[in-house]
């Protein structure tokens, strides 16, 4: 008798755990007073601050709607979308990943370029290696970190190197902008090549040293509503907000250039 009761209790606990696990996995479940309409936005990690602000404005302007944001590297988001992840809008940090989504998951109409970004030299606040130009990074003994060429910021770094005629010998080719910033802000590296917006977002932990050749690699940010969207009208409205004047203002404040 006690054995059976214990088993029943164990089963109940297991079922409860499972239910908790499942509800934790599906963000929509179990929330009271849920808004009637939802738009899910997959956006490049560099857009985190601006899109959070824009999503807030969107919700204020459209009472009863909710914007769900998912931030990650563009290639990761593209891979998720092409594997069938449910989303309404995709904002990429480069056109290559948008092209992948266009070709596989599919978008509504043509993607719209809504912002641009250029590289800058990030240095520790004290600038111990006295970096003032891109050429300074090629000096022997200067520890430079860049992104690996497989990631967009690394590809852009190669482009500006060629445009400026400077050959860098980085001590590390990092996997993401965050890793480059981490090495610079901690002082391990003397300088790193990152986007203007990244140094802005990093606050006072790094300083930005701009250079002329940066315009050789202008990174364009496209946005599009997805074909699989359940609420295409709302998705289109969000795209319009980002690409419109209000979006321009918020993005500009964060350091993004005009499209």
């Amino acid at each position: 008798m006690t054995g059976r009761r214990a088993r029943a209790a164990a089963a109940a606990v297991a079922a409860g755990l499972l239910a908790g696990l499942l509800s934790a996995c599906s963000p929509a479940a179990g929330q009271a007073g849920e808004p009637s309409r939802t738009v899910t936005v997959f956006a490049a990690a560099s857009l985190k601050k601006t899109f959070t602000e824009l999503a807030h404005r969107f919700e204020t302007a459209h009472p009863g709607t909710s914007v769900k944001l998912s931030f990650a590297g563009s290639s990761e988001l593209a891979a998720q979308l092409n594997e069938g992840a449910p989303a309404d809008v995709f904002a990429s940090a480069d056109q290559a990943n948008m092209a992948k989504v266009e070709a596989s998951a599919g978008v509504e109409g043509k993607p719209v370029v809504f912002a641009s970004n250029v590289l800058t030299i990030a240095v520790p606040p004290a600038n111990p290696a006295h970096v003032t130009s891109l050429a300074d990074l090629a000096r022997p003994g200067t520890k430079v970190v860049v992104c690996a060429s497989q990631v967009p910021c690394g590809a852009a770094a190669r482009t500006v190197e060629r445009a400026a005629g400077v050959a860098l010998h980085p001590v590390s080719e990092e996997l993401s902008v965050t890793d480059v910033l981490g090495k610079v802000s901690s002082g391990e590296a003397d300088a790193g090549l990152v986007y203007v917006t990244d140094t802005k977002a990093a606050g006072g932990t790094v300083r930005s040293v701009s250079f002329d050749a940066s315009s050789a690699a202008r990174n364009l940010y496209p946005i599009a509503a997805l074909r699989s969207s359940a609420d295409k009208a709302l998705a289109a409205e969000f795209v319009a907000l980002v690409a419109g004047a209000e979006g321009r203002k918020v993005l500009g404040d964060a350091g993004f250039g005009a499209p």
Partner: protein, 279 residues
Amino acid sequence: MSAGHQGHALPGWVTAAAAVGTGFVLLPLAAMVLRIDWPRFVPLVTSDSSLAALGLSLRTSAVSTLLCVVLGVPMALALARDTVPGQRLLRPLVLLPLVLPPVVGGIALLYTFGRRGLLGQSLDLLGVQVAFSTAAVVIAQTFVAMPFLVVSLEGTLRTSGQRFEAVAATLGARPGTVLSRVTLPLVLPGLVSGAMLSFARALGEFGATLTFAGSLQGSTRTLPLEIYLQRETDPDAAVALSLVLVAVAVGVVGVAHGRRGGSARLRTLLSWSRAGAPR
């Protein structure tokens, strides 16, 4: 589970739960294998960058495992024999890398060995720069892998008991002799499996290496970093390399077990430890 083994039959629900657990571990592996682009597999895994990453991973993991043994065995001995003052406090701290997110471990190492770190500044004066070097990879791997050896060995030391050591002392053996001729041979299986766990952990180490050592082909970009990077442009290559990583890990553990089975001395030891201490 197999009928050849003696022992009590397990309740059905245990077997069922075990099957679910096994599936949970094996299915993702199978899913990965199914996605492999076999015609491109060999070129993908034999590219310069892949081979460089694999070679670096094997070398650094081997050195890290050695360091784990050199530093971890004395730690396990001290902890298991309750000789450390305040060890109730010390043990969880020493085992911290087990629960610390590897990225945080990397940051902590940066604050220690980095250019502006606790020790790094002094090392810098001596002309030693750890950051962005292969040594940094080894440090990161050792940091995350050592607790596996310490925990595994301490457990074996505690269960192996101190009675054999007491007998050895009454036979006139000095502490050093007791350690080398009694304690260590008795816990050798635990030491081997602890070292294997450490090697596997070092091989898979990603976060701390990324944060602390950087990523440059041939000197700091280990296989897991290479896999992460390949994923940006070529997911097929990432999957192929992951399979190589799994194969290497399985191979190393398999070889260790094979060798263990091959030694008559150890086999006796294992049969004894399975049967329990003589009473």
